[in-house]
Amino acid sequence: MLDSKIPAGPLSEKWTNYKTSQKLVNPANKRKLDIIVVGTGLAGASAAASLGALGFNVDIFCIQDSPRRAHSIAAQGGINAAKNYQNDGDSVERLFRDTIKGGDYRAREANVYRLAEVSGDIIDQCVAQGVPFARDYGGLLDNRSFGGAQVSRTFYARGQTGQQLLLGAYGALSREIERGTVRLHNRCEMEELVLMKDKDGKERARGIIVRNLVSGKLERYAAHAVVLATGGYGNVYFLSTNAMNSNGSAAWICHRKGAYFANPCYVQIHPTCIPVHGDYQSKLTLMSESLRNDGRIWVPKKKEDAEALRAGKLKANDIAEEDRDYYLERRYPAFGNLVPRDVASRAAKERCDAGYGVGSTGLAVFLDFNDAIKRLGKDVVEQKYGNLFQMYQKITDENPYETPMMIYPAVHYTMGGLWVDYELQTTIPGLFAAGEANFSDHGANRLGASALMQGLADGYFVLPYTLQNYLSDQITVGHIPTDTPEFDEAEQAVRQREQRLMDIHGTKTVDHFHKALGHIMWEYVGMSRNEESLTKAQTLIDELESEFWKDVKVPGDIETFNPEMEKALRLADYFELARLITADALHRKESCGGHFRTESQTEDGETKRDDEHFMYVAAWQYQGHNQPETLHKEELNYEHIKIATRNYKN
Amino acid sequence: MNNDRLIKISSITKKLLVALFASFLLIFLLFHMTANLFILAKDGGDAYSAFCHFMGTNIFVKVFEVILFGCLVLHLCLASYLWYQNRRNRPVGYKKPSRTKTGKGSKLMMITGSLLLVCLIFHFYDFYFVKLNFVEGTYMVKTEDFMVGDPNQEVSEEAQMVFMNLLNEGKASKDMQWIRQISTEERDVLQQAFPEAEFEPDFYHMARQKFSVWHIVLCYLLFFAIVGIHIRHGFQSAFQTFGLNHYKYSRLIEILGVVYTWVVILGFAVVPLGVFFGL
């Protein structure tokens, strides 16, 4: 049923084989083909730039005022690449294995291998663009290590790697805009996907309806293919490390139109975020995972110490060394503080639930740099993490050079997303998904510094090939008009949705509902889930959603600059998405990666997979509002890798 | 973009020119200051007069003078133009005045610059216009100029009187090379008698005379203070505009700017003060 279109041949030759046998579009025909790219993050910007450079006609859309503001910019730590510049035994094979293992054996082998294969090219590309990666004194590139890996393969630009990579891609995009191959539409949000039937009766993605956020007017754009690079849906939890405007609506709109949604329950909780401090809080700030290279995570050994810390009677530095429990080093001697994110997050939650948490809420653990400062000196620590420390101090008003930082896990990344095949095409022909918006490469958990790698791999090195393969038979289609019944209908549907929200005239704000939804999701569909919590979540979400549709208040008018309307439209989709996440989590009666079912754990509280029953990608098909979705399974066949228990202990 | 539009002068080039013209003026200030210091020399003005004579007659100096004036006018025009342009880039201003921590220097450039222009006109009235014969002043002439007149021509009695008076009043320099402190009337009489004689402004005595009046001294001190404020910003600003500011030596430029400013202000100020207090 689900054809993942994995090319034949040995794993290491699949991508080469694909490229040599794929269909191409000749240069003269390229300019006759229009492509829509939604999103200007790493995946979107790099795809649009590469496609524009190839000669296609590209329209690119972003909701912010500039492409450079996409949330890829906030990625701090780095980007992985199997360059083996450090001579520490890295290779494509090892990056591939680490990623598969990090993803708890729930990722598609062929995609991950391709990702590892092109990872080195990404670094080459970015350096050529002038990305100022950190350098050694000899002028060569420097690397750092990251969670889930035993080699140093992470390239970084201080604590702003995402920013620098995005600015690189933004530069490439800007160049194409200047050349006229790409047209930029800023402050535009995709509100509908337009499908059209071909002469052969096949329905294809042919355009989108966008809301011009400045005027509130709807605009139509047609193209031969649509690329979705709109990021993840972590904001369904309200509090997350995502930006305020990051949302899952574009993907969800496509899902409603028939694109399958895969593995929605795989949500990554990042272990090193600044803890929540009040109910007015609007977002959580991530502290780069790279901090775990030198920082040591601990909580007090004694409960009474923890209580005193919470009450403010003791300070972290008052706790004697022997009374500190470096629980990650204790539980995972081989990886220590560098265990993958899901493991570190759950361990923190476990300690806090057991009553050892610190901070005023008891929902925090210490990340201590005392040893690192002693060992390396304050200057070195400052050079490595200065901006992160400064950021922490700005937010918390505490000096991390003197007192340990306090951290707690927060929702960060969603491994789930639109189901795509090897070509990154969704189940709707002509609709492609890249970056975090698709589900492809990370399985049940993403390793640190791999999101940037995947976004750029998709945009620079995968889509420019696979899109051509798709477009090669589109050259005869000709220009696609926007004055068709399909566009009329799609636009009307959007207007109706907007009008419906406007007409409610309720009493509560959008944020009120969003916070409530976030609370349900975090409590019952968060770091650990079970049948009971998930069932409860389902009821609560249903209740909240019906209340939303009765009592939400959207001020202002439709055809104006109206951020409340934007938020309401997104939240309406989040309810459906939340329901699907819950359903997916409920159906997957195993623990794997970011999905932890308390019913399925080992004796010492680690995830316990059920490979016999759940070795598949769960791709869901939309069946209408509030209807149970249909499950399609893509079986994962590991031909190359030997499946093992994910073990970071030894 | 239309490439031809690149030809029009960019904002940076305009700034460069402003700085370039200013640099000439900055260098000139040093010259001017050094020359002024001769006024304080206890030689009855011999050195200063010799210098003034050189400055007034040397052809290169005259060319330089034109360049200098050009610099001044262009500096002034371009800077005003930029100021006018810049004001248009924020049609609606802020309600709250800026509380950004910055030096005041650049914000005062237009004000100090305008004040300087006014001061300069007065200064010219006092000294420079005498040279151009726009206004009357005190003059000096070389004694030898009286020797080369046409021997056949009778020297008028009036001229002889004036000449003798000058000598009697001790207005000849010690080496008898110059006769100085000649008033306009005296000059006119002598000039008629000795058409060949070249009278020059006697800046030394003019300065000594003016700087013995307290309110003129005060005005000049104020003038120098404004110059100080203007170049305090201008000096380092020129380096910045020339792209000569760098992490390695931005501190040095800053210090140089302060030193230069104080040297110039003090160098100028010491003359009127010195004269006034009889040094």
Partner: protein
């Protein structure tokens, strides 16, 4: 904490704006400035007082460059090296009057309330703020050696988030620090050398065209830059400009 807010309200680009005064109370000192505005908006919606105040914001961790308010006479408020979203209410005194204005510059027209259109910055970058490489066919990353010192200086300049505080702070609404940061970033790297002359020429000309002012070396931009990008980058821009003036022109 309680505050009196004077906020610039303007319905759209054409409308005439005015200041409106609102009061907020019981604000936690730990609250960020934008969260305080969230609370205000919640209040405005719930009590039917007015349309919520529109202001740009996104990442809320000081990196996207989306937020930018002119608060009590300073872009990004009364603290150094931060964006508006990193400003916390503990920096204010209880009972303070806070004036909140949008960026003011001809090149940044107002969209609504405190939201301005900064696409002029994009246009400057489009003029040449990049290295023209197409995807693929580039040398190995380690084939290009960059002295660490240069890489660090390039990074210092590249940290610019394009928020526009420099323009907002500048009395001339000049974008020299923004342009200087990009030009300096690429000028420090071997990759940027090939197009160095063309880049600075095009970017500066575009900057002039878009209605940004010229630099009068006041350094208000440096004082307000949330990423503390230094004035030396403007000097480098000037230097690159001079080099370009004397560099060979490809046109005949």
């Amino acid at each position: 904490m309680n505050f009196t807010l004077h906020i610039w309200r303007q319905e759209n680009a054409q409308a005439k704006g005015r200041f409106e005064t609102y009061k907020v109370s019981d604000i936690s000192p730990e609250c960020s400035f934008l969260e305080m505005l969230d609370i205000l908006n919640e209040q405005l919606i719930n009590d039917n007082i007015a349309h919520p105040v529109c202001f740009d914001n996104d990442c809320r961790e000081g990196i996207c460059g989306m937020c930018g308010l002119y608060i009590n006479g300073r872009p990004h408020g009364n603290d150094d090296g931060i964006t508006t979203c990193q400003l916390h209410m503990r920096k204010f005194n209880d009972g303070d009057e806070i004036w909140i204005e949008p960026w003011r510059a001809k090149a940044f027209p107002i969209i609504r309330d405190l939201v301005v259109d900064r696409s002029a910055f994009d246009k400057i970058i489009q003029a040449g703020g990049y290295v023209s490489v197409t995807t693929g066919g580039v040398p190995d990353a380690n084939a290009i050696l960059v002295p660490k010192r240069f890489a660090d200086m390039a990074m210092d300049a590249a940290e610019c988030i394009g928020c526009g505080a420099c323009v907002a702070a500048c009395k001339n609404a000049s974008a020299m620090l923004f342009v200087g940061a990009k030009v300096a970033h690429l000028a420090m790297l071997p990759q940027g050398q090939v197009e160095a002359h063309e880049r600075v020429k095009k970017m500066v000309c575009r900057m002039d065209e878009l209605g940004f002012g010229s630099c009068t070396n006041t350094y208000a931009c440096e004082a307000e830059c949330p990423k503390q990008i230094k004035r030396q980058n403007i000097a480098r821009l000037n230097r690159e400009w001079i080099k370009q003036l004397f560099a060979g022109n490809h046109k005949k």
